[in-house]
């Protein structure tokens, strides 16, 4: 069945059966941050509630793709869905990274909030068991439970609840997508953050910097 520009299935090939959009429309991604998953209305980047139907958005900067399809490369919200098989042997190594912390503090300058580097933060090794692995902070009230949970003590205050996502590809490699996180995502010591919603390929040894001090290093078969 044809799928409309925001991901509804439609029997009519001219206008979507669900939202009425022309089936061949292109969505000007620059002007909108996504669509309400309840009513399909476009949403602005800062909207916390849908202007049309009042649905609360989970993250003000995160689009709400239709839950039934992962369309236009927008990562899906975590939830029940057919498991994607993950390539074997990958592990995310999570560290409090002093060098990254220093660069964050330097960039924030004198207005830096009171961000203490955690005095004790053991390395964690998290196997990538699923084809879709979220980096974020757990929220019981919103039902968010990312596999790489940076809300575990010492919680990194600079990490969004749904910060970024690792997706397995068919060829056994991974992509990383910043999910429009407030403080962004950088890689391998770069200063320039990743563009939100644009998947970038990642592989063995790549370092992912999020929040105030967290660096996640991807490794295969034990790694460093």
């Amino acid at each position: 069945m044809p799928v409309c520009p925001i991901g509804h299935r439609s029997e009519d090939a001219e206008y979507c059966d669900v939202c009425g959009r022309p089936m061949d429309a292109t969505i000007p991604a620059s002007t909108i941050a996504g669509f309400c998953r309840n009513c399909g209305a476009a949403r602005t980047p800062d909207a916390r509630f849908c202007e049309s139907c009042g649905t609360r958005f989970e993250d003000p900067r995160r689009p709400e793709p239709d839950a039934s399809t992962g369309h236009r490369g927008i990562p899906r919200i975590p939830g029940p869905r057919p498991p994607v098989s993950a390539p074997q042997g990958w592990v995310a190594v999570v560290n409090a990274d002093r060098a990254y912390y220093n660069s964050v503090i330097a960039e924030l300058g004198p207005d830096a909030p009171d961000l203490e580097f955690p005095p004790y933060c053991p390395e964690r090794r998290i196997p990538l068991r699923d084809g879709e692995v979220w980096i974020g902070r757990r929220s019981a009230s919103r039902g968010i439970a990312p596999a790489i949970d940076l809300g575990e003590p010492p919680a990194d205050p600079g990490v969004s609840h749904l910060h970024a996502v690792l997706n397995a590809r068919a060829d056994g490699t991974w992509t990383l997508t910043d999910h429009g996180a407030r403080n962004g995502t950088t890689m391998n010591g770069e200063v320039e953050p990743l563009k939100a919603m644009v998947p970038v390929p990642v592989g063995d040894g790549d370092r992912i910097h999020v929040g105030a001090w967290t660096t996640i290093t991807l490794t295969r078969r034990g790694g460093p």
Binding site: Y15, C19, P22, C39, A41, S52, C53
Partner: protein, 463 residues
């Protein structure tokens, strides 16, 4: 049915909405052309019940004699093979022809027998319209698939049963047959007949002069014979999270259909519109859609005409597109404006007359003054003329009026009855892909189509 009319839907609208705009208005015109023209032809299978008020008051002013002539004329118009009956209404309904509670096939012999039975009628008793309608419903019940139609004539208020009984009868009959209602003389209740005709998807009209009944009945029966397909519905799809704010029939008369929605799918609702022959009707719909971004286009509504078997007879799109070009988004579609004015006119007349009856002169003066302005704006000269008999127009521009005293009852009833009858907008350019092309009808030919379909009397009220 092999000779289904050919239906066409065309949509008039300004599809442009400003940033954040959500309400889209459109005029949906539905036109049906029967193959072989509008003549009665062989037509569809039809069943007709003629209900004549025979309460005691009918014996005054020649009403009974006129009603009998009218009923005979209507029977004469029925073509061979149509199933029919004639019913006399009083405290209880009574079969006039045939004698048993059933319909008979029209032919030379049955038409003559019916005429003889009608001529023997005498007026006696009261008025219990609900019970008359229930009998019509029982008579028509076995004729599903046929065009089922009743003609109801009364001269008085529904005094011999309660309003609840009438309402219950209307609920029972709704969707089972179409009923055109006529009030003769000036002792009947406008609101009552309006309710009946509205519930049963028919027209209603005042016939102050009994002499006009015959021609009116002939036209009504002819129109009924011209119907080719029964139980048609407008099916309206609206997108997710949209809301159909209203759907009103505007031509031949204002009739708000919004509350008649029967859900027919997750995002579709059906609105019954009765039987169709060769005729044209217009609908005004307003849909509230989720706001879209500048440049976004969408289908705001998809209107289909569906036959009882589910066949789609015609369809049309109501579109929406958001633009930051104010010249586009602020443009007013003339036909939408025209029909908006006619809706408001009908409302102003009704409220003005209600206030006048209630003795609230201030409200009556204000509302009827507004009606004078609107009648001029939309070019509804019939209503303008009728208003003239109820109010004295001091300044037609501003709507400054004075209530007349000693208004004839017939004039007030005519205005009340006809306030919903609209004038058609005239298209200045043919073709289905029109945009902003209509002009209000300035010719003064009021409700031409309404007359063809609903068979108004030959003379205007009181003229």
């Amino acid at each position: 049915m092999s000779d289904l009319p050919e239906f066409r839907i065309s949509v008039d609208q300004n599809p442009y909405l400003p940033d954040g705009g959500r309400d889209m208005h459109a005029i949906v015109s539905v036109e049906a052309r029967a193959p072989g023209g509008a003549g009665t032809g062989t037509g569809a299978e039809a069943a007709e019940v003629i209900v004549i008020d025979t309460s005691g008051s009918m014996s005054f002013g020649g009403k009974m004699a006129a009603a009998k002539r009218a009923a005979v004329t209507a029977v004469d118009v029925l073509r061979d093979g149509v199933h029919f009956a004639v019913v006399a209404g009083a405290n209880r309904p009574r079969m006039i022809f045939p004698q048993g509670e059933r319909l008979v096939r029209a032919d030379e012999r049955t038409r003559q027998s019916a005429a003889r039975a009608v001529r023997r009628l005498d007026a006696a008793g009261g008025t219990a319209i609900g019970s008359w309608l229930r009998l019509a419903d029982r008579l028509l019940a076995g004729h599903d698939g046929a065009v089922r139609h009743a003609i109801l004539l009364t001269d008085g208020k529904n005094q011999h049963e309660s309003a609840d009984e009438l309402d219950a009868a209307l609920r029972q009959c709704e969707g089972r047959f179409v009923c055109d209602a006529r009030g003769v003389g000036t002792d009947w209740e406008v609101a009552e007949l309006r309710k009946i005709a509205s519930a049963l998807l028919g027209g209603f009209l005042d016939v102050p002069d009994p002499a006009d009944l015959e021609a009116d009945f002939r036209a009504m029966a002819r129109a009924a014979m011209g119907k080719r397909v029964a139980d048609v519905a407008l099916r309206v799809w609206t997108p997710q999270a949209a809301e159909l704010r209203f759907l009103k029939q505007m031509v031949p008369a204002v009739e708000d259909l919004t509350a008649r929605r029967v859900a027919s799918g997750e995002r579709t609702g059906d609105y019954p519109v009765g039987a169709w022959g060769s005729e044209a009707r217009e609908y005004h719909l307003c849909v509230r859609v989720p706001a879209g971004g500048i440049g976004q286009r969408m289908r705001a509504a998809w209107v289909k005409l569906v036959a009882p078997d589910g066949a789609v007879l015609a369809s049309g799109n109501v579109l929406a597109e958001w633009t930051d070009d104010e010249a586009r988004s602020t443009r007013i579609n003339r036909r939408v404006a025209h029909h908006t004015g006619q809706s408001e006119l009908a409302e102003a007349v009704r409220e003005g007359l209600e206030a006048r009856r209630a003795g609230d002169e201030e409200t009556a003066t204000r509302r009827l003054g507004r009606a004078v302005v609107l009648a001029r704006e939309v070019g509804n000269e019939q209503i303008a003329g009728l208003l003239d008999r109820v109010v004295e127009v001091v300044d037609g521009e501003s709507g400054t009026v004075r209530l007349r005293s000693g208004v004839a009852k017939a004039d007030e009833m005519a205005l009340d009855t006809r306030s919903v009858r609209t004038v058609r907008t005239v298209r200045t350019r043919p073709g289905p892909a029109r945009d902003h092309v209509s002009e209000p009808d300035q010719s003064g030919r009021s409700d031409e189509a309404g007359r063809a379909e609903q068979a108004g009397p030959p003379g205007e009220a009181g003229s």
